[in-house]
Subunit: 205 residues, 2 copies
DNA sequence: CGTTAATATTGACATCGACAACATATGTCA
DNA sequence: TGACATATGTTGTCGATGTCAATATTAACG
């Protein structure tokens, strides 16, 4: 048995390519993540990824799908079953933004539809799972069961919660909140601003 | 005097390239907008844009700057001076999302920091101008003057309003709200959902 | 053991951003 | 007016990328 680097067949190239891709994402950002770069990082030829992912959208979509699975798990870990609904919502929202800040390039990739293939089953499943976290929390706060069909007020409450945390995360990652933060007293960072935003919403809800 | 297509010097190539770029953006989306494509569309050689914009980030940044100027103007046109503050806020928010829907690819470009050069003076000026629209409206609603330094509640209110409309617009453009909309009664579209979201916020504020 | 399918490599092509060298027009100043 | 410096465009090239076709190697399975 030859050393792995000399073997013609890798054995688990699919997983290796996904790990390579994520490493590149962390190191070089979204711009550095190319098919050929992933192949290099995994130590295979430039055309090897084609067998496992088809095209570049395939690789990115599978990576995004794995990201959404971890994303959903991260949002759930912050909540406890005996938390009051309001507190659960805030915990989920904080988890949403915390994940975006912890894995900024992965998060941006996950929401860059133009480079993804939303028809990939893995990606659909993963996005649905993540969306369910928020949807269930809103239903619980309203004291209603989760149903296939939504009322407009239900949907509006989901849209408000989701848009708020998503917008905050995107603006933060894009550096657009910097001018706002720089006009605040020293020591007030993005976390404090988000917490204050939650309070402002709560006060009026 | 030769016909324009035969002239060596274009005369107003900078403007022509920006117009070409915007047309490509509308027709082919962000992925089709390249330096060479803009040059082709303008009828000049592939290296001509270099003299006016330096690199690709330069062209995209100038295009984004022009977009932000129109964006700020669009948000302002919806408001009337005799409107109550709450109504002004809603009008600005609607204008925000309406612009994103009317010019989706331009909007996405405007917030894609990785492809922009935020150090370009024109872009800084334009983003500041757009941010001021929201900032002033929040100050007016709170009955406070616009000041260089912000209190945390002021900033939180700006962050809430901005994040809400920005998140809604981004999720909508990325197609992420489709599952939510499909679970709503027939006839409820994105506009209705946004209006309901504003009502939900207002009710608690 | 032999055949078929899966997996990986090599080589090629069109396109892109960037750069260098060169061509042409504009404008300025003596 | 005329020469010269500068701004504006063109051509050619380079390395990198995604994709495809052709080929080589291995695994799977009867």
């Amino acid at each position: 048995m030859r050393r792995r680097s000399e073997r013609y067949h890798h054995g688990s190239l699919r997983k290796a390519l996904l790990e390579a891709a994520e490493r590149i994402l962390e190191r070089d950002g979204i711009g550095g993540l190319t098919l050929r770069a992933a192949a290099r990082q995994a130590g295979v030829s430039h055309a090897a990824p084609k067998n496992h992912f088809g095209d570049v959208a395939g690789l990115l979509s599978e990576l995004a799908a794995a990201g959404f699975a971890r994303f959903a798990a991260a949002m759930r870990t912050g909540i406890r079953d005996d938390d009051p609904p309001d507190r659960r919502m805030a915990a989920i929202g904080s988890g949403y933004v915390a994940f975006a800040r912890a894995h900024p390039d992965l998060f941006l990739l996950m929401f860059r539809s133009e480079r993804l293939d939303m028809n990939r089953p893995a990606l659909r499943v993963a996005t649905d799972e993540a969306a369910r976290v928020l949807s269930e929390a809103v239903a619980a706060r309203r004291g209603e069961a989760v149903d296939a069909v939504l009322t407009l007020p239900q949907a509006a409450e989901i849209a408000v919660a989701w848009s708020l945390v998503h917008g905050f995360a995107m603006l933060l990652l894009d550096g657009r909140l910097k001018p706002l933060l720089s006009r605040l007293p020293a020591g007030v960072d993005a976390d404090a601003l988000l917490a204050a935003a939650f309070r402002a919403i709560r006060r009026t809800a």
